[in-house]
Amino acid sequence: MKFAKSHEWIRVEGEPVPGAVATIGVSAYAVEALTDLVFMQLPEVGSQVNAGESFGEIESVKAVSDLYAPCSGEVVEVHSELPDNLDLLGQDPYGDGWIIKIRLSDPSQLDSLMDQAAYDKVISEGTH
C-alpha cells in the first residue's frame, strides 16, 4: 500500500503493471481529522482519473475536501454504497471503506508515493 501527501492510499492487486487494477481510499488519519462526514461525491465508472487531480469530494460538517487520485487510470468500479454509509470510512478505512478501483495507466507513478513508514513519519511530524 502506498500513500499520497493528500492522504489517499492506493493498493495494487497483483503486479504493478499497466492495466493492473488498484484500489483507492483515504487514510484513517484523514478520516479522523475530518470528523462527522455527511456527504460524498464519486466519479462514474468509465471515467478517467489523473494523478494529483480531484476525482471526488467529501463533506464533513463544515469542510469540503477534494479526493485526489494517487495515480492515473480508468475507473472500473465505484463503492456505490459508501455515500449512504460513510461510517465505513472510519470503521474500516483500508478495507470496506475503499472508494474506487482504477485500471492503472502508468504504474511508475507509484514510485513517487510514500510507503506506510514514510507516511506515518509525515503525520507524526505534522508536515502534511
Partner: protein, 283 residues
C-alpha cells in the same frame, strides 16, 4: 518551504458573488505557492445568498424566489449565508502550515480571537462547546439541516447568548486550506421577516462599550463603493486580526487590494465558472 512570519491582510472593494468566490480561490492558490497565512476581508455589491458547496440548489429556491436575492455557490462547505450586513473573510493557509492539520484548528484561531475582542467590549460572547442542536432541531451533521448557516450550531461557532454571530467553513485543497467566515454585523432585512437574525449591532444594544465599538463597522453595512473604507481599520476588526496574528507569533501586514490590475483578468476568467449553471446547480 519556509513559513512566512507575516499575516497578510488583503481588502477589496465590494464585489458580486462570483467575483468574490473566484478571488478567494485564487487567494488559496497564491497562498499554496508562497506559504504562510493570508486573509481577505470583503463585502458584497448586492445582497447575496451564498450556498455551501454541497447544499441543494432547490432548497434555496423558495427564499430566492421570495426575495430576488442574487445567489452563488461557495467552494467551501457549511450552510447558506445571507450577505448584506455581514463582514466576510477568506483565510488561506498553505498545506504544511501548522494550522493546516485538523479542520478545527483554523476555526478555533479565528473564532477564539473574535470571542476575546467581543468580550473586551462587554458582549457575552463564547464558543459553542458541543453539538447543541440546530434551530429547527436537526443534528449538526445532518446533510439536510437548516438552510442558513446562522441557524446551525457546530462546535466552535461564535455565539452571543443564544445567537450565532460568526461561523466558518472550509475547502481543503491539495495545496492549501481555504476557510470562509461571516461575521454578522447587523440584522439582514433584505430576505424578509422569516430570515432575519440579530447581528452584533442589535445584540450590543444597551452595552455602551459594545455599541461604541461597532459604530465604525456598522457604518460600512450595507456596503457600497462610496463607503468602501477598509473594515480592517475599524477598531474591533483590527484588534481581531492582531489577536489572530499574536496567537501565531506573526505580524499583521496590510497589503491593500488582492484584485489589482494584474490579477483582474484571472479573476474575471475564474468568475465565469462560479456564474455557470453547472456550478450553481451541481446539487
Amino acid at each position: 518551504m519556509a513559513i512566512s512570519k507575516e499575516f497578510t491582510v488583503w481588502e477589496d472593494l465590494p464585489a458580486e458573488g462570483a467575483v468574490n468566490m473566484a478571488t478567494d480561490e485564487l487567494l488559496a492558490e497564491a497562498t499554496a505557492a508562497t506559504g504562510g497565512m493570508a486573509v481577505r476581508l470583503y463585502r458584497w455589491s448586492q445582497p447575496t445568498l451564498s450556498l455551501g458547496g454541497f447544499q441543494k440548489h432547490g432548497d434555496a429556491e423558495p427564499i430566492v424566489k421570495q426575495t430576488g436575492l442574487a445567489v452563488v455557490r461557495r467552494p467551501s462547505g457549511g450552510g447558506a449565508i445571507l450577505h448584506g450586513t455581514d463582514l466576510t473573510y477568506a483565510v488561506a493557509v498553505a498545506r504544511g502550515h501548522p494550522l493546516a492539520g485538523a479542520p478545527q484548528q483554523l476555526y478555533d484561531v479565528f473564532h477564539q480571537a473574535m470571542v476575546a475582542v467581543l468580550c473586551e467590549v462587554g458582549l457575552s460572547a463564547g464558543l459553542v462547546a458541543a453539538a447543541a442542536g440546530n434551530i429547527g432541531g436537526s443534528g449538526e451533521s445532518a446533510p439536510d439541516g437548516p438552510l442558513l448557516c446562522f441557524d446551525r450550531r457546530a462546535i466552535g461557532d461564535v455565539v452571543v447568548g443564544p445567537h450565532k454571530v460568526l461561523g466558518s467553513a472550509q475547502r481543503r485543497l491539495s495545496g492549501s486550506i481555504l476557510q470562509h467566515g461571516s461575521l454578522l454585523v447587523g440584522q439582514c432585512d433584505q430576505a424578509g421577516p422569516g430570515y432575519t437574525r440579530p447581528g452584533l449591532v442589535e445584540l450590543a444594544a444597551g452595552t455602551p462599550d459594545a455599541e461604541a465599538s461597532l459604530v465604525g463597522l456598522a457604518a460600512l453595512c450595507p456596503p457600497s463603493r462610496e463607503r468602501a473604507a477598509a473594515a480592517s481599520s475599524v477598531g474591533l476588526v483590527a484588534r481581531w486580526l492582531e489577536r489572530v496574528a499574536e496567537s501565531q507569533g506573526l505580524s499583521v501586514h496590510h497589503a491593500g487590494p488582492f484584485v489589482n490590475d494584474q490579477m483582474q483578468p484571472r479573476v474575471a476568467e475564474r468568475a465565469e465558472r462560479f456564474r455557470s449553471a453547472v456550478w450553481l446547480t451541481r446539487r
